[in-house]
Subunit: 411 residues, 2 copies
Amino acid sequence: MTPPLSSSIIGPSGNDSANNASRLLTLLHHAGGEATRAELTAELGCGRSAAGYALSDLVNRGLVRVDDRPTARRGDGSGSGPGRPSHHVHVAATSPVALAAHLRVDTLDVAVIELGGRVLRVEREPIEVRPDVASIFLRITRLLRKLGREAGRPIAGIGVSMPSPVRTEDGYALEPRHLEWAGVPTRDLVREGLDEPWPVHVGNDANLAALAEHRHGAGRGAHQLLYLTTEHIGIGGALITEGTVFGGARGYAMEVGHTTADADGPRCSCGSRGCLELVADTRALMRAAYLPDSPVTGIEYRARVLIEAAERGDPAATQAVDHISTLLGSGIAGLINVLDPDRILLGGLLAKLYPLGAARIAAEMAERSFLERAVPVPVLPATLDCAALLGAAELVLDHVLQTLQVPAPAE
Amino acid sequence: MTPPLSSSIIGPSGNDSANNASRLLTLLHHAGGEATRAELTAELGCGRSAAGYALSDLVNRGLVRVDDRPTARRGDGSGSGPGRPSHHVHVAATSPVALAAHLRVDTLDVAVIELGGRVLRVEREPIEVRPDVASIFLRITRLLRKLGREAGRPIAGIGVSMPSPVRTEDGYALEPRHLEWAGVPTRDLVREGLDEPWPVHVGNDANLAALAEHRHGAGRGAHQLLYLTTEHIGIGGALITEGTVFGGARGYAMEVGHTTADADGPRCSCGSRGCLELVADTRALMRAAYLPDSPVTGIEYRARVLIEAAERGDPAATQAVDHISTLLGSGIAGLINVLDPDRILLGGLLAKLYPLGAARIAAEMAERSFLERAVPVPVLPATLDCAALLGAAELVLDHVLQTLQVPAPAE
DNA sequence: CAATTTTGTGCAACGGCTGTACAAATACAT
DNA sequence: ATGTATTTGTACAGCCGTTGCACAAAATTG
């Protein structure tokens, strides 16, 4: 007797996950959950027949809905023209949704997000100043269970955004920022707090925000998207390479906060000296501008205070913004030489501060990078509101896009 | 008619370039051009039937040959055991070969390389001290034409390794090192110098050497391979991500030579200050050790001189090696924080010097990178002799592996 | 109302993959 | 030597997604 030839659980064959149905759904997802059938067929690049086959597959799976009444809108923006108008394709109301959680400095956000990236619901809770691990994860899982119950949709899984490097292999969060935790087995903790065996994905907040910006925001279409952000403590970085998060071997890549900005600078908690995030994160910025800073006041408030101070000519604020823009530009120049991005996005406080520091940043980039001088890289502020939440959902929805299946509801 | 629902459970995949025949040939290539049929079948992960189908396809295309007389060697190293012995599979003598050219400081190398990475022939010519573009490309194409004529094999294409950043899009070489050229449209120049319409691929020498090390050398099996090298002028870097060169948006990524090693250091030709390659390339090293340096003497000779000096306790040499190891370790630490590699390879002079500087390098890595302290990254010297040539051939052979076709010999 | 243009569908065919059954070739025990 | 266990290669029928073509459907244009 021969043992089963195919040992793999998922699928014995070369399951490319690149079949037409999967690609079609991916296109729909990237288009925001709604597109005409003709657009999708054209982008698929195969015949109308094959596209129809794939589409009917998606409809049968309950992932997608096709309008009966076509409207005359053309894909190429030409408004209308001769020819039979194309049907509209939507994400179905029976399609699975992702639950996303984002652990921020001052709040805990949880959301229900659909294919296409539409946020169906968000719940936000403030969190105490110095929370312990157990209570936080209790609250996360309680919210997740609640939203899962009330969603009325199949749950494809959970995506969690953590303010720390996250090991890809097992969702372990290494040294979360602005929490006095040593290291947290995030994936397991969330799993254990749930009633149902939903798959749990964990990612670094900057990575996830960048991913969301690439799919639904200001990063759309970029091949190598470099993302930098600061919320309060620390500087987050991410690189989206051809549509996927660049995580390195373990998931710890793009820890740009610990790029050396001043080799003889003060000691950083990471062991090195003069790390960029020691001198250029929100906390350092507020301190340098002699402005009050507290995590309880939101980013928006602090940014407004800072910008107002700088705009009315407050010398400390102006100087602080200039100084930090210089350091940031220098850091970006180094990253350009290593990563050769074709777009750079600034998120968090950096997005709000960008108008003030743009010139200084650009000048430093040009001086420190010969690649930048050869072909300047566009720098833009990020646009999405809850980017990290969206990105966390992407982790889950990507799996749906590839397998076209909802994980078994119970096992 | 509606398609059945059970498509992607055991679904035969869409016809991608990742079909079994292509994957089988890739496995054979990575195995060095020779393997037993059973090994290949096991690694393919599909049934023996499908593997046989793919294999017969490759045989029919003249890419692969199967031994009639099987030998009893087992794949798992167990020597022998019960069961029918597996046939051996080789790269066929009728399979297409790649021509590779490598423009070095002091020599021009051209080779004929087969699937599996075997070098069938190498020709090396010295080049004058300050060559002009036209004469160099005349010599390159003359050698290529000659080796192509005499190969007696179908030519899959040309791979060229250049000591400069290379634009992926069109094979343009930006500011070649140790040549006083402004920029060279390498791909077009080589194409025009050939009689036949062979496809021409161009790459950066460090990228190609790293690619070769990953496929056939000390980098095998690494997921994120960081490669650093110095030949004479400048420091080359490369990252191999899951088996492919990380080139960034344009191909200019990993210009690590212009990482800032000393923010207030001397001006570099790149416009920045204190670039790593100003203070840590071979030229700087020889100068710091007060040793004679000339591109005419090969790397090997200079390395021997330097190592001998350091080993007999010459203070200048010892200090120079220490100093450079420190800078290198610091640079590597920064790259670890950004790239999270799982292996680091040192090539060129760095490989030969590594035994002397290992301790210093490791210490600096640990001090400057908290990721390194969490999980140390192994550092190894590179092993291949003509890595860049092999890598250049990979560019060409990759196309064969994907399409299983030789480009039409004439058109 | 006919002509044109674009879009959706039915149908036959194809190609690669799957699993099963069977034959071939070896080692090992008796 | 003979038979059994074990592993490897091959033949065959069936499946499924894709393809290309022909034709029907639904709009604009004249």
